[in-house]
Amino acid sequence: MRLQSAVQPWVWAITFVLFGVGLFLGLTRAPADYQQGETVRIMYVHVPAAWSALMVYTVMALASIIGIVFRHPLADIAAKAAAPIGAVFCFLALATGSLWGKPMWGTWWVWDARLTSMFVLLLLYLGYMAIWQAIDDPRRASRIAAIVAIVGFINVPIVKFSVDWWYSLHQPASVFRAGGPTIHASILTPLLIMGLAFSFLFLALHLIAIRSEIGARRIRQTELARTGALQ
């Protein structure tokens, strides 16, 4: 807790600086695309949101494995606290992707592999959160939610490789691919900075959410103990 309090201001400061630099470069210095024109700038929020949604789910799955195997008390707290943040990133990736798709593909949505697997990821996030809401016993909820998170992780590589495995309207990987990125540095630099900005935003919000979850559990235990003492 003390470490978190010490780290928190630095994480927020780095987040704001990264967003400032990333937006400045992405919106004013990076060139418009020769085919997509200014619409390419949607990429600086769409792609980092999609990366972050996948990263957060991976964090949740790893925390769930640690929770199940080592029974570390912080593991399921970390997984639970990450879920709403990941769900928001996933929603943003879908929403901004839709806003990109309409002018570029002529449609808001197609049920192709990348879009559908990303939508499944959003459903996994919502399902994971619904389990915590629906089950009163936290130990049982954490076990079932962890299993859902671990099993659902199979969707993460499906999202990543969907554009290679199936025919898709979505463009293939152009940053994290064998042979290196295919994007010019003037576009790649702001994209990577925005990716880092989203990652630090996740870290900043996750630290607060973990602290809240620990506090909420202490409240629950105290209230349960009091109810028991009164009976």
Binding site: A49, V88, T96, L99, S212, I219
Partner: protein, 59 residues
């Protein structure tokens, strides 16, 4: 950025949605943290008050 370019509305909408939604998420997380901290303080005060009334010292 050229604000007269075609489809610029889609670009502005994307950034607007992103920052509004992220702002709401951050506010929700801060609000929850504040309400949890307030309830914890309240419980600690109540516990201290109870210990004072029953004459028990702090453990």
């Amino acid at each position: 950025m050229d604000f007269s370019a075609p489809h610029i509305g889609f670009v502005i909408s994307s950034y607007a949605i992103t920052f509004v939604v992220l702002g709401v998420l951050a506010l929700w997380i801060f609000a929850r943290a504040r309400s949890v901290a307030r309830r914890l303080r309240q419980l600690e005060d109540e516990g201290a008050e109870r210990r004072r009334k029953t004459g028990r010292s702090e453990p």
